[in-house]
């Protein structure tokens, strides 16, 4: 059973259709991204998964249950909502401890879990601080700490690194990777395409409330079917020998920029990369860079 399953999901706010006919299956043990511009329906979809919003129609199941069914999902799902404020007067450790108690842990365990959670997001000293005194970045990290509290099976993160400085954003990305390695399914909604490309195993691209494209990151970026070799601008490689390479589907050379784009049919594109580079080096060409596929950003820009 997939952790998240949606079928023909629709959400409207008055006359405005925020999400239309969204069907997705999000499998276990992966980091899954929700991608799209503002108003694409990412946060609305995310909120329906988290049980914040009721779908107008369609079906959604989270860990086999209706989202919002607390008895069944308690301590199995963690959520970082976007723009939700923490109570200003409450101390961070007390708040995390309260959340842990609501997840079923006893008072002593809750205090330990709260301390562990603060440690995990690099804020071990923040326990005694009141939430109202935290900077935006610190509050975000407390939000992330509560999402991973008790090690839930499924974690939903809305813009997890927005507003964080590079060091802490890196720390949070490492935490997410580490949690994925521990076997958790993590869903991230974000505008940060570079981050999603580096983190996610798969993603869905949404636009105007509809699913535009969905698949593994390799599929989305074309990394398994396209190789881009950057030569020096003005370079003039001998293309006939390259075209004779086995497993090559097509070849395009952008002379002005010096980019060779090779479309591949191979199961292992690395073999083709090695062969193509061997030929180019033999021709005396200088190689400035090699990449597989296009960046996620370039793909998304084409689609929306």
């Amino acid at each position: 059973m997939n952790p998240i399953s949606m079928r023909a999901l629709r959400k409207t706010f008055g006359r405005k259709v925020a999400v239309e006919s969204l069907s997705l299956e999000i499998g276990p043990d992966q980091i899954y991204g929700l991608i799209g511009p503002n108003g694409a329906g990412k946060t609305t979809s995310f909120s329906m998964m988290a049980g914040f919003l009721h779908p107008s129609s369609g079906e959604i199941a989270v860990l086999g249950c209706r989202p919002g069914k607390v008895e069944a999902l308690r301590n199995r799902i963690g959520v970082l909502p976007q723009d939700a404020l923490l109570p200003a007067q409450t101390r961070c450790a007390d708040l995390l401890s309260y959340f842990a108690r609501l997840q079923g842990f006893d008072t002593r365990s809750s205090r330990r879990l709260a301390a562990e959670a603060l440690e995990r997001v690099g804020l071990p000293e923040a326990g005694e601080l009141r939430c109202g005194t935290l900077s935006h970045g610190m509050a975000k990290r407390i939000g992330i700490a509560q999402a991973f509290l008790g090690d839930p099976e499924l974690v939903l993160l809305d813009e997890p690194t927005a507003g964080l400085d590079p060091k802490h954003a890196h720390q949070i990305r490492e935490l997410i990777r580490q949690q994925r390695r521990a076997g958790r399914c993590i869903v991230i909604s974000s505008h940060n395409l570079h981050e999603l490309e580096s983190l996610c195993d798969a993603a869905a691209i949404l636009d105007h409330g509809r699913l535009v494209l969905e698949g593994t990151m390799a599929t989305l970026t074309g990394s398994s079917r396209q190789i881009r070799i950057q030569l020096l601008p003005g370079a003039q490689p001998e293309l006939a020998s390259l075209r004779a390479l086995p497993q090559l589907k097509s070849l395009d050379f952008q002379a002005a920029s010096g980019i060779l784009v090779l479309e591949v049919e191979a199961a292992r594109p690395e073999e083709l990369i090695t062969a193509a580079l061997g030929l180019l080096i033999a021709q005396g060409q200088l190689i400035a860079g090699v990449s597989k596929g296009e960046s996620l950003e370039a793909q998304v820009m084409k689609l929306i």
Binding site: S47, A50, G51, F52, L53, H54, G68, V70, E71, L73, R74, N75, I77, G78, V79, P81, D83, A84, L85, L86, P87, Q89, T90, D94, Y98, F99, R101, L102, Q103, G104, F105, D106, S109, R112, L113, E116, G143, Q146, G150, D151
Partner: protein, 319 residues
């Protein structure tokens, strides 16, 4: 997670409610609102208590019969009135009252209530009536000011989204409502005992023991009365994400309740009284156990009804 930690338990409704109650109770105290309201309530009560003492002493100076004085002041406190209950209870000032027509003292919708009110007045030390009256008078306003953002505040700031995966709407509502009731009750209790101490100091022959017994009975069960208004506040607060709009709803609701109560004094609309929480308030300090318990039951029903409505809204609305 540290593997040495015991696994989480399955939380029952009561335990979940208790956790929310503990957190909310502590959180409310941390805010400035309880202290501000305590100060306002305290000062307001003492101003009114000072006026009361003055009235009481004036009645004593005029050699008014204590029973008569009691009924007159009680009538002033309840500010209501249609017909006298019984001939012997008509309040009259010495000298003037013998020739004047009888002054109606208490509302008469049901004889049972009249008898109960009469019993209250006769059996309760007069200063205690004042204390009860203050408590009953301020409770609706207190509930509004303390709890107008009970749910709308969490919705506006979306804090409710942190709770959504962990907490069912029922325990959330119950925990919040009970913590508000507990805090209002403690504030009222503290202020009331201060007023009682003031009366014991100011009034000669003040029956402190009788006052404490009556107070114990009243305050031990006034929670149901407070719960009614806090639950109403919670229901109205659940209707909007904007606390200021929730505050407006609640002030309008208090006005509507008062207006309906006023309309109910017109005989064809007298039935309205039965639908209003304020109608049953006398039962809370009635010495008649049946009337007291039925009043308590009605308040429990009102509180349950409003909590149920808040639950319906909370479970159906988007967070």
């Amino acid at each position: 997670m540290d593997p040495s930690l015991p696994p989480p338990r399955r939380l029952g409704y009561l335990r979940e409610t208790a956790i929310v109650f503990g957190y909310e109770f502590a959180s409310i105290w941390r805010g400035v609102r309880p202290l501000s309201l305590l100060i306002v309530y305290f000062l307001g009560s003492f101003l009114a208590a000072g006026i009361f003492c003055k009235l009481y002493k004036t009645a004593e100076e005029k050699d008014m019969n204590p029973e008569e004085a009691k009924v007159v002041i009680a009538a002033l406190l309840y500010s209501s009135v249609d017909e006298p209950i019984e001939e012997g209870e008509r309040p009259m000032f010495d000298g003037e009252a013998q020739s004047a027509p009888a002054k109606p003292v208490l509302p008469k919708l049901s004889e049972r209530q009249d008898r109960a009110i009469s019993g209250v007045i006769q059996s309760t030390p007069l200063p205690m009536l004042f204390v009860f009256w203050m408590g009953i008078l301020v409770t609706p306003l207190f509930s509004v000011l303390m709890g107008f953002d009970l749910l709308s505040g969490d919705l506006q700031h979306r804090f409710v989204r942190y709770l959504a995966p962990r907490l069912r709407p029922g325990p959330m509502l119950l925990g919040k409502i009970l913590s508000q009731v507990a805090i209002q009750w403690l504030i009222s209790l503290f202020t009331s005992f201060c007023i009682l101490a003031y009366f014991a100091w100011q009034l000669k022959g003040f029956d402190a023991a009788g006052a404490l017994v009556a107070a114990g009975r009243f305050w031990s069960l006034s929670m149901a009365y407070m719960a009614t208004y806090v639950a109403l506040s919670a229901f109205l607060s659940s209707l909007t994400r904007m606390p200021l709009l929730a505050l407006l709803f609640q002030l309008v609701a208090i006005f509507v309740l008062w207006f309906l109560s006023a309309l109910a004094s017109w005989p064809p609309l007298a039935f309205l009284d039965y639908l209003l929480p304020s109608y049953y308030k006398f039962g809370l300090y009635s010495p008649d156990p049946a009337y007291f318990l039925s009043s308590l039951g009605v308040y429990t029903l009102f509180a349950s009804l409003f909590t149920g409505l808040a639950w319906l809204v909370t479970t159906r609305r988007d967070r």
